[in-house]
Symmetry: C2
Subunit: 103 residues, 2 copies
Amino acid sequence: MIKVSVMYPNSPDATFDIDYYCNAHVPMVGEKLGAALKSVSVDSGLAGSGPGESALFLAMGHLIFDSVEDFQHAFGPKTEEIMSDLANFTNIQPQIQISEIKA
Amino acid sequence: MIKVSVMYPNSPDATFDIDYYCNAHVPMVGEKLGAALKSVSVDSGLAGSGPGESALFLAMGHLIFDSVEDFQHAFGPKTEEIMSDLANFTNIQPQIQISEIKA
């Protein structure tokens, strides 16, 4: 199983509408990617590790697929449709990472 | 539910022993934190989003607790013991983020 983490870095002028993300963006992505997408989880950044420290990422979405190939086949043809929705909930350019789920 | 993400940034000279992490560090952390720790997941970075791009983080450990208070009560007294094990598997200073699990 692999995880595609879409991470939205925090900054002083960053905006992120977590309600739109959870209630509109993630369901739309689920519809576009179909059965290849096994599950999604969403984290909303609360804090860093030190007192008064901000979260590094305002939000993170984690998408689970059986393999990198499954992700690429499902996401490739839908990239533009999915990415064009970002302006509806954030001014942040997300950072994307693909990981192997070890545990 | 909250998630404490311990993220190990990638860099050219970064080292990380994922086998030690999964088989020794995470079990030790589980023992120290006890019942407050609800579950742990481990991601091993494979790639970034572009062709040939490296993963932003070599590894990420995600620890789930019922609340920030539960995490603080469990982790506080054990911080030194847990952090002193890092030298056994990495030369990276991890970045830590606390998130609310929205989905």
